[in-house]
Subunit: 329 residues, 4 copies
Amino acid sequence: MNCFGTLYRTTIFGESHGIEIGAVIDGCPAGIPLCEDDFIPDLDRRRSGTRGTTPRKESDLPAIVSGVFNGFTTGAPITVLFKNENVLSNDYKNLITHPRPGHADFVAQVKYKGFTDYRGGGHFSGRITLGVVASGVIAKKILEKENINIQASILNIGGENDKNRFSEIIEDALRNRNSIGGTIECKASGIPIGLGEPFFNSVESLISHAIFAIPAVRGIEFGDGFKAAFQKGSEHNDLIADRNGKTVTNHAGGINGGITNGNDIIFRIAVKPTSSISSPQMTFNTETQKIEELVIKGRHDACIALRVPVIVEAMTALVLADLSLIHKK
Amino acid sequence: MNCFGTLYRTTIFGESHGIEIGAVIDGCPAGIPLCEDDFIPDLDRRRSGTRGTTPRKESDLPAIVSGVFNGFTTGAPITVLFKNENVLSNDYKNLITHPRPGHADFVAQVKYKGFTDYRGGGHFSGRITLGVVASGVIAKKILEKENINIQASILNIGGENDKNRFSEIIEDALRNRNSIGGTIECKASGIPIGLGEPFFNSVESLISHAIFAIPAVRGIEFGDGFKAAFQKGSEHNDLIADRNGKTVTNHAGGINGGITNGNDIIFRIAVKPTSSISSPQMTFNTETQKIEELVIKGRHDACIALRVPVIVEAMTALVLADLSLIHKK
Amino acid sequence: MNCFGTLYRTTIFGESHGIEIGAVIDGCPAGIPLCEDDFIPDLDRRRSGTRGTTPRKESDLPAIVSGVFNGFTTGAPITVLFKNENVLSNDYKNLITHPRPGHADFVAQVKYKGFTDYRGGGHFSGRITLGVVASGVIAKKILEKENINIQASILNIGGENDKNRFSEIIEDALRNRNSIGGTIECKASGIPIGLGEPFFNSVESLISHAIFAIPAVRGIEFGDGFKAAFQKGSEHNDLIADRNGKTVTNHAGGINGGITNGNDIIFRIAVKPTSSISSPQMTFNTETQKIEELVIKGRHDACIALRVPVIVEAMTALVLADLSLIHKK
Amino acid sequence: MNCFGTLYRTTIFGESHGIEIGAVIDGCPAGIPLCEDDFIPDLDRRRSGTRGTTPRKESDLPAIVSGVFNGFTTGAPITVLFKNENVLSNDYKNLITHPRPGHADFVAQVKYKGFTDYRGGGHFSGRITLGVVASGVIAKKILEKENINIQASILNIGGENDKNRFSEIIEDALRNRNSIGGTIECKASGIPIGLGEPFFNSVESLISHAIFAIPAVRGIEFGDGFKAAFQKGSEHNDLIADRNGKTVTNHAGGINGGITNGNDIIFRIAVKPTSSISSPQMTFNTETQKIEELVIKGRHDACIALRVPVIVEAMTALVLADLSLIHKK
């Protein structure tokens, strides 16, 4: 289901080359100032346009068509729409018979019995995250009132940690008609003690649920993450230092027993290299039933990770806004 | 909420030192043979009892009190109960004022305004996973009919990959009154193409949601996981080799675009070292408001990771049984 | 939450005088033929335009902006949008201070702290049921494949059962600047045995949940309904007559123990008279804090019941399509 | 699904002749005083024992096995269990082949493919409402803190409104080996303005959803209910009389646009006559495939309506406690 959240609920819809993409955001409290311009900064971060990101240019102008009146949210569901304009659907015709390796083309054809909209990846396109970013902007406004702040940034791309060398790495990938992955870190600060529930609605459960909804994510770790498997209890435990629960270290990433402990929530995610690369690959021709060479046309990101931080922030905001509203009960 | 699943839904309840622990499992189809003995093998794996696991001995005998008639499931909710017997609650009295570092003691006191059952960790205890394992046994029976099989095992503990050296590592931790973490790998085979939904109900979203409900999990990665962030598209993409979607490699861990692709689902998780260690630690005394030494009594696992594989299997089975039932619509 | 359904889920949004109204319909199977024209007959029934219904004229042309490709549903969420065109918002300005008796004006102002869109009832307008009718059309197509058919019609209006006298009754109400209520009966046939669940997801629970989402509904009864309270068991029980569960009578309205029994589902609902009447009424002026006369401007239905049957069908279709998809698991 | 509620969630389980019946109640705030004795008054009202109710005698002693510590709720899920003791299962053997008219016997056999527990109606038994009453007691405690009070009572049985004649009517039904229905009214007072949501989560939607989960309910109406269909707007509209939204009349039953308006919530329900009557009836023998006479053994209520008011209160409390917790966000 294309729907997420308990009290703050986001429903996303659309296709890469469909008419409109968007989101319905339900459960936003009344009285929050909101206009189309508020979405622009985060949409700009998502759109990117720098080297290494897709040459498809979309204005991505959001239209609020419900839930806002006289510049404030009304408490009714907010609908934000985006038109698809720069569509070159012919590039994708060969993908019906030649599913791209690493892409959802094949599973989509099977799952939806051949009725899937294959153009530009259809509903599986990363373009659908436009609606997520829009909902994230609203969620951040809810969190702002609680002094909760979320920031995600690239740690490394293509195995390179030195930001000065990123453009070099990207040019290299472009030259080789290949793609590269990356790692992103997200930090949420100003977190109160007590968000989340033990077990099934642990903060990690909800954040990871949202994060793995982002295409191309392969892993997530909180606090020390996978390193914790190599540590001793005496190394990993965070000493509680004051009545507000502040800890001297933050190996736990701000969460104990599934509940926020008042320290920063910290997690990292792995983004795989874009599956659509322009160098030739072999794939199974579903018509001839033979393995054949595929050359992918269309416009793709050489390093999709570059555009992911703002989506990570949005997903985290969706979860924290929901938990924050629940927490007040 | 202590509830998980759409058509196959598990509700868990109980406390470490409460009267009974258990689960209500709703949505199980009628006609599946089920008796108390069916739970024993997986409960035994969870109980362990080997060196490095808690000396608390519980018989953990399951009682089915609803949903089964004449040896078969009836379609009504199945309730499985476990009695707590071997309870030494006095060991925990000092934790009211001295929250254990790395444990949920502190957040539980704050979140539940001092009313939490602190004995043995209360509802935050890993003991609550008894109900998860019980539900997992039933879910595995549903999956068996679809020829889906799930297996999880320890990859390493305390940084050691050589299974021959595990007992050595554990003895070392016990001698030092410390604890160690570990890594677990899970593989689900016999998976049809098409389980899961794009975005919010991606297979990774649902599995990670369930897995992070297991206490002490710090990270999860699918397929190549975090390594994928360092790869190129040409390295990571899996070539589709036949009409059934079988791929030559499985870097994707059996999932594309959130949907199963017919190959094995593969993921790994990081388990942190048990937070309750018996060597002295410093903590914040919430009464005196000073940092003081804490010596944790009670009985704890030196390496909780040893008992986690069967819980990982259970959580994975919960997700796949649910998706499998939904898939038939 | 403006969201309903488990596997077939409808999210509605919009305001009476907002930019667009619509619905996102998630969980529709792929491969169902669908185009804008398919919505017209039911939208026409909802729009009406006959005497006794609002003089506001809207073209109500649906636009499918996602989830349909080459004339078939794709399995991705379907979004249907309607533009508001014939908007006279000035008529409603006095309602900010003068809440209409029997209307949501007052509760909306309080609940949403003064930020509600008051124009034409805002999100509380019956106009939002456009999205419900659209979703109902799709649900009916799902049910058609199962040979399930739903039909609702007016039993009486203003206490009059004789359809020949309806226009007379309506003219009378219009002349008196008043409004009248009505009763509607709905019958669903072709129902298989076994839809629904005992207790919380009984068929009556789900249908009544959906039906009371229609503005102005005051009651619902299944089978013999309130008359059953006056009957004896020997009168009310339906004799089962064959192996398919067909009963000689249908006092139960096709449901036993919350589960469909293979006979027609039959229920009736009461629709209250439209609260917005044009004859003067007294109300509480929230500014002056005094009781004052209110004359309602704007365009309203003298007998909203006339437009409700198609919405009742849609709501019933939403429930039965969902149960039908769940039933196949 | 045997589960109801968003933030206050009740899961019920059990069979009439199974081992234990009960409920898991999740989302109850910490710090509410609760012990087994608190359940007794409402359980006593449900048990009845007066003429016209079943001669089956059960002690119905509740056992709280989780979620309560030192006499207070802890915030963890509360589990309440009841043992079945007075079980005479032989009475029900003939129902496998001879489904009772008006009962769920037939649909249960079909839906659950012959695996249903037929003894005493199995999971379809009204006895399962024990768990609902238990959850209702807790919900009432949550509402008490908000000064919300709920009371349901019998309006009439067997068509008789005069309470002095009730015992006469019942004796008559018993003498004739027949059963009778009844009508119940419920009133909730102390209601704040603003509970509920427009459309799908209207207060009427949620209350009716819960109420139709009670076996034998055939109809529900709010405020003037079905009479409203015969009224004019000028008769039905409630004049708002003060700043707190108090209305001079209460034709609306305390709800406008799905939202509570600060006045008493008032609704009535119709309870059909018990389907199990001891006079002979004809039914379809599923073995011989012929219509044959059935004489129902077992112990049954001649007027189940007598025991329903406390269950109506409980269901209403479940809804209002949930809405009340959501309202605080």
